[in-house]
């Protein structure tokens, strides 16, 4: 069992700045010892020497060992592939074939949801089989171990972080998000992206203006597909056998196809602008890391 950084770091962190907070799950309480270590970890530069997969595998080993200290067998993490991985595609391939994945995934999303829920079933069954007291002990310890893992490995680059509502850590991540949104580098790359999109006939100030209306329109079709298709599934069909053409009426299908074509066209223009160097995602990620580290190191 490795020594937790937190133990070595106790008392090392003395700084501080007078307090203020920004809504959300803010708190007036002081960080715990483990939270102090997490904050110190956030101040360190990102470690690119290990892949995301290697880091998460190491995290799982760490949590498993941490749980074993309390004679608990780690059941998690309860995860399944993303839809993109499930389809066997890279993000680029997914973008080319499905655009943003809004209206274009209507034929596969119910199959994916059933798959994902099924993947989780075994874990859920095992956990719910525990007596209430043991279940509480399990999840309480799991939370402690996950927090220790954040101090050891940092937050997952692509995952879910679980912290108490009143953790001061939320103030740091909230600040990093807000500071990044207001950073001149984000303004610049967004304006350049917007100009690039305009050259292709699309007038969007930012990516939400581009994607959210498409998502909202798509949700109406997906909802109709799910509710109308459920009757057919209840009658013996399967989601695998049911495409949108088998479920929606002619008018719905015509409108859906129009939406899908619009989505794919906008997504193609968006990809073109990324290829032209206007990649907001990469700039945002870099700037966010910087703001988070600055806040944690102050």
């Amino acid at each position: 069992m490795r020594t937790h950084r937190s133990l070595a770091l106790v008392g090392a962190a003395a700084v501080l700045v007078a307090g203020g907070c920004s809504g959300g799950a803010s708190t007036d309480r002081e960080p715990t010892v483990v939270e102090e270590s997490i904050i110190d970890r956030m101040a360190e530069p990102s470690d690119d020497s290990a892949s995301v997969e290697e880091t998460e595998a190491a995290r799982n080993e760490f949590v498993s060992a941490c749980m074993a200290e309390e004679d608990l067998e780690y059941l998690g993490p309860p995860e399944a592939p993303s839809m993109i991985e499930w389809l066997g595609l890279t993000e680029e391939q997914f973008g080319a074939e499905y655009g943003f994945g809004h209206a274009t995934t209507i034929d596969v999303f119910m199959v994916y949801e059933a798959f994902a829920a099924g993947e989780f079933e075994e874990y859920q069954t095992a956990l719910e089989a525990l007596p209430a007291a043991d279940r509480e002990k399990y999840v309480t310890r799991e939370r402690e171990c996950l927090q220790q893992s954040y101090a050891e490995f940092g937050f997952p680059r692509n995952g879910t972080v679980v912290l108490p509502n009143d953790s001061p850590i939320h103030e740091y991540t909230m600040h990093a998000s807000e500071a990044t949104a207001g950073d001149s580098r984000i303004t610049e790359v967004t304006e350049a992206w917007s100009a690039c999109m305009l050259e292709q006939g699309y007038d969007f100030a930012d990516r939400d203006e581009m994607g959210l209306p498409l998502q909202q329109e798509a949700e109406a079709f997906k909802s109709a597909y799910a509710s109308q298709g459920q009757a057919l599934v209840d009658a013996g069909s399967t989601w695998e056998a049911l495409g949108a053409a088998d479920v929606l009426d002619a008018e719905q299908l015509a409108e859906l196809e129009d939406l899908q074509q619009r989505e794919l066209a906008v997504a193609a223009a968006h990809r073109q602008c990324i290829d032209a160097g206007h990649d907001i995602e990469s700039v945002y990620s870099e700037v966010y890391d910087e703001h988070l580290a600055d806040a944690a190191g102050s």
Partner: protein
Amino acid sequence: MRRFKFPPVKRLMAVMAASAVGFVATFAVAAAPAEAVCYGRGDGATLTRTYNGHVVAVERQASGTCDGDNIYNGQLRDPYTDGYSARARYNEQGYNAIVAYASSNTWVDYRFYDQDGNSFAEIQIYSSPASRPSYYINTWGY
């Protein structure tokens, strides 16, 4: 002990920027049965979804919801302008659906009613298809 303070100027700029971006389609929250994250009664956790190292969705329970009444009152927000809203999906005994959407950094309230009366379910928050491994978090005691 340290406590973080938001730099006043930067914070103001961030708020102004967020307002300027403006377009905030806060979708209606389905008034359907659902649930969210408590760890036993009287305690709660906040879920922060990361993608490429930064935050794309945050979920927490509203104050006092971890009271064992089988009603989960949650809040969701989307701090990232990426073209996708933040979503909260619940899974429980055959029930699997998106219960809440948020498209801005302002908290959106939502409610989930337990499906089988055991005050126990799983929640998943995400944004884009790429930011969505099916990682459910257990919650009970709401």
